[in-house]
């Protein structure tokens, strides 16, 4: 079992205030890991650090030599300008950036891959629609099609099934399982405990720090969930510098 991701005592946050505090641990290559926790637990922050948009305040995250292009990231609040005049086909095609870059042409093979990705998420016939005309669920399907094309070793999904109907989330969950079968490493932030118990072998319960991490059945116990809820968002404007960093062992 090779570790794909290593968190080395990582602290992530904004303006020196930590949102994820001293996280240590490893994610095995090919793992299917659910990240659960109350709102404000630091799930999104952890993902932002993982994909490299947020620099750790302390510690480090090693991704086993993965290039930034080997990571596909689907953020929670997707910052997409839906009024931009671009078709579903072209939008999904941007997932091929890794293969095409600035100038690479879109040959027959690339067009086949786009068509295949669109049918895999059930968006046949939507090729020429402007992205602004899609419903919420269709939008999420389209974003999954782009992740599909990114062909990444590590896939990071931040609350992918929020505000999505049952049918759509079942379809998209099948894709996630398919990625798992292809030995890709998949991390997903989720709120639906039933869904996690049924489909995700491993779970990290996060509440700023890790509450529990391991096999899903062991992690999602009543005490653990209560504990996570209790570890509230301890944001303090006049907080002192974290003392852990001053310990002699770390200074050395």
């Amino acid at each position: 079992m090779v570790a794909q991701i290593k968190f080395n005592d990582v602290t992530l946050g904004y303006d020196r205030h930590p949102a994820v505090h001293h996280l240590d641990g490893e994610v095995a290559s090919g793992a299917l890991l659910a990240v659960v926790g109350p709102n404000g637990a630091g799930k999104s922050t952890l993902f932002r650090g993982l994909v490299g948009i947020l620099k750790p305040l302390a510690g480090s995250i090693a991704t086993g030599g993965l290039d930034v292009k080997d990571i596909a990231y689907l953020p929670q609040a997707v910052d997409i300008d839906r009024s931009f005049p671009i078709s579903v086909y072209d939008f999904v095609g941007t997932g091929l950036w890794r293969a095409t870059g600035f100038f690479g042409g879109m040959g027959k093979a690339a067009r086949d891959r786009i068509a295949h990705a669109l049918s895999a998420v059930g968006l046949n016939g939507f090729e020429n629609r402007p992205i602004g005309t899609l419903s919420g669920g269709q939008m999420q399907r389209m974003l999954f099609a782009r992740v599909l094309l990114q062909d990444a070793r590590l896939i990071v999904l931040d609350e992918p099934f929020n505000a999505i109907d049952a049918r759509t989330s079942a379809d998209l969950l099948d894709l996630v399982k398919h990625w798992h079968a292809e030995k890709r490493t998949v991390l997903a932030a989720l709120h639906d405990m039933e869904l996690v118990r049924a489909n995700f072998p491993q779970t990290l319960l996060l509440a700023r720090g890790p509450v529990a991490w391991g096999a899903t059945a062991d992690v999602l116990t009543a005490e653990n969930l209560l504990e996570a809820r209790r570890m509230c968002e301890a944001f303090d404007d006049s907080a002192h510098a974290c003392a852990v960093d001053d310990l002699p062992s770390r200074a050395a």
Partner: protein, 289 residues
């Protein structure tokens, strides 16, 4: 008769031919930039940048009089400085780009007016503010043409990152580091084209040949490629028609070009096939699916 009105001015007078060549070059470079400015909600940023160029051009004027080369160089330096400083401030501090740009351009505008008022007459000021497309000499025409060429080449290189950054900036940040460089390159192109338009239309109207065609294109196409084509075509058309109008009447050429574009714009707002008012009032029967 029609020949006399529409074609004769250009066959008989060299300055009209030069003006037409200049306006076509300006349209080819400026209109695509205008489309991106509009889609990135930066239309007014273009206007702000146009003011930011003023102190540079004014310093050029102060040093060597009404020498277009000196004024262009000065304008480019001032414009780049403001664009890059504003871009860096907003990228590194999280201050929105429009706010940081507003600060920089207000300072430049104050500086520019101060410098012009140190040395210069009202006629100089008019030239700086409104340009003169009917006085194109060879060097000026060459500068305009090469700036348009540079614009199209650079735009071709940064086209994909620019489109992706406009639609989904976070996605671009996760797959590539091309976002910031291509954004800065785009701002540089904005400056180049403003300086270009500055020669012909002056500080105040230079941005018109970029933004108005983009606004027109929005009403005729749902697709960015189509928008760029329509924007270029309508810019060329307004340039040509504006020159004819100013030749036949007493309207000065710069305002004539922009006014023609404005007429096209109003027509597009009313009758455009994508979201035009007329289309909204009489949408036709709804479809089956």
């Amino acid at each position: 008769m029609i020949y006399d009105a529409l074609i004769a001015p250009f066959t008989e007078f060299e300055f009209m031919r030069r003006a037409l060549a200049a306006v076509i070059a300006l349209s080819l470079g400026g209109a695509p930039i205008g489309v991106f400015l509009m889609l990135r909600r930066m239309s007014l940023v273009g206007d702000a940048m146009a003011h930011a160029i003023l102190p540079g051009a004014a310093i050029g004027f102060l040093l060597s009089g009404l020498n277009l080369f000196a004024m262009t160089t000065g304008g480019l330096i001032a414009g780049f400085t403001v664009a890059i400083l504003a871009g860096m401030v907003s990228r590194s501090t999280g201050l929105k780009e429009d706010a940081s740009l507003a600060t920089f351009y207000l300072v430049s505008l104050a500086l520019g007016v101060t410098i012009v008022s140190i040395k210069g007459t009202n006629i100089d000021l008019l030239h700086v503010l409104f340009g003169n497309i009917l006085a194109m000499d060879d060097p000026t025409l060459l500068v305009i043409a090469s700036n348009a060429t540079i614009t199209l080449l650079v735009l071709a290189v940064i086209y994909r990152p620019l489109v992706i950054e406009s639609v989904d900036p976070v996605f671009l940040r996760t797959v590539s580091r091309a976002g910031a460089p291509s954004h800065l390159a785009f701002l540089a192109l904005v400056v180049i084209n403003l300086v270009n338009g500055f020669q012909a239309l002056g500080t105040l109207l230079a941005v018109g040949l970029m933004i108005l065609p983009a606004g027109i294109a929005r009403f005729w196409s749902r697709d960015i490629t189509g928008m760029i084509c329509i924007a270029v075509a309508s810019a060329v058309l307004s340039g040509y028609a504006g020159l004819v109008l100013s030749f036949e009447t007493k309207v000065p050429s710069g305002p004539a070009i922009i006014l023609t574009a404005a007429v096209l714009y109003i027509g597009s707002v009313l009758f455009g096939s994508v979201g035009g008012l007329f289309r909204q009032l009489f949408p036709g029967r709804h479809l089956e699916a």
